[in-house]
Amino acid sequence: MQKFTDLRKNLKKDFSNLKKIKVAVLGDSATQFLVQALRGTGFEKSLDLQIWESDFNQIECQVLDPYSELHEFDPEIIIIFQSTHKLLAKYNKLAPAFQPSLASSQIALINTIFTTINAQQRAKIIYYNYPELDDSVFGNYASKIESSFLFQLRKLNYELMVFANEHSNFFLCDLSSIQNQAGKAYSFQSSIYINTEMVLSIDILPEVAKRTTDLIGAIAGNFKKCLILDLDNTLWGGIIGDDGLENIQVGSLGIGKAFTEFQYWIKKLKNRGIILAVCSKNTESVAKEPFENHPDMVLHLDDIAVFIANWENKADNIRQIQSILNIGFDSMVFLDDNPFERNMVRENIPGITVPELPEDPAEYLEFLYQQNLFETVSYSNEDAERTKQYQVEAKRNVLQKSFTNEGDFLQSLNMVSVVAPFNKFNSPRVAQLSQRSNQFNLRTVRYTEADIEAIILAQDIFSFTFTLTDKFGDNGMICVIILKKENEDTIFIDTWFMSCRVLKRGMENFVLNTIVDYANENGYAYLKGQYLPTPKNQMVENHYFHLGFKQSADYWVLKVKDYNQKQCFIKAT
């Protein structure tokens, strides 16, 4: 972890090519250092956080006054930092009869702040929960007494989680957990607090800034999707090719326990939707043996989406994994116990994250907990199905090789698509796809669940979602279109993104057929599209050209009348 002094030095560096995000910081304690740490940490993650900092203790004024500087700034993200010390000050002044309602009155205040912002602004809110402070007035008995400060503080932290669960634009940054990990003596320095009103020590600032920018990055669409694993001395102790099945270490005995617990962690990630891949220097049949035959292995072959074991170099193998999964290197994490392999991969694969695993496997887990590699801002049931879908994809690749005619192949897949507008059942998945799709995304406008709910109610906006099922399985929702009426004649394709899983299936043709039909039935003469380049969406640069749109300045236009339905092997239901 970098020191605060180093983060401050980043402030003088060149931010001009970094992704700009407007962030407002409002605190009831002194936040100058936090702001510097956030901007300095943002630089490390290629983010240009353009931060507006509110005057000290102005949270309510700035939020409730519609003409305030906050409203004028119009941030994308608002960070609200209410400190435990100010909460304690509030508690100290309460008559005993009101102490048991501290948590609920604080939640009511937070609700007012959130509702006001949400009604007037596009910003998402990041709220710090409360690090624990035990005033020791009741000793251990505090846990049995509703009016104690500790009881109210813990209740508030719990209620905040419930609140966050219910409000999609409200995110918690877990300051309490950060203090638990680092220890209070490290996170808080009384002399500095008394002199400056700063409740975070200089030592803890980089950690707090990292956790906060992890969250900001995830909101902006930067997060990990895939974990690539080495095997020998990473997933189990020992070398399977040398030591043999009976002698590798995994299970409840000795050092094996470290590997077993590590595997359970990886399994939980897989169940959350992180794709697992194996990249090992081994003979494939030998490498697979523990997965098939070792009774103590937690991970099995069906947990692994792509399994590569050979004697080629790991950078090439990871490139191959990338080409199968079709996701960016910057969304991959590679874990390997061998420093040589780590360096080789780090140097040859730009963007990939390669943590410096500790030498002792017993420390793997605590180290990885600390890294917070898998930040996310969404979760849906489909995440859990992802591994299966990628495995099915690998099978499809095999089948494709046996067909010489692409049309015959597509025909043989018996593809069916369900087309539906946004509704309350599919909106979480739409929001999630909107955050995740980087490559096949024409304009890369990100929509949250709340945005999608607004679209459902809007008059001149029309939405389409597409699923795709074939004889191998259900891909779930894989494409989203948002059309906006521009005038009586023209309808604009505001959003077109698609999962790269379903490339080369003729889905583009099916989608275009569908929206041209829609335009026709509703009397529009022109469909208008646009490509906005990002570092990741080059694959759709010529998307509209290929589909027969004509370029007109920065836009692409299709005359609905002249359109002939394109050939396609997907049936609508």
């Binding site: 002094t5 003088k12 002399s191 500095i192």
Partner: protein, 81 residues
Amino acid sequence: MNHEEILKQLNAIFIDVIDDEEIRLTDDSTANDVDGWDSLTHIQLVVAVEKHFRIRFTSKEIQSWKNVGELMGNIDSKITV
């Protein structure tokens, strides 16, 4: 640790925190003499000094020094104890 040695180490801390290679502290230096030594960096300096010399200042001491000489006297009294 003698006076000169403390001054040398303190100077290095100031250079690192304020990020200015040109800083040359003397006993008489005050915040007015050093560009970038404001109330915020003061806090950073205090924490860096505490860490480097493995000492802790009281909250009263943090605001008490009139110049670098007094700060060094304070450091000296704590590391020789």
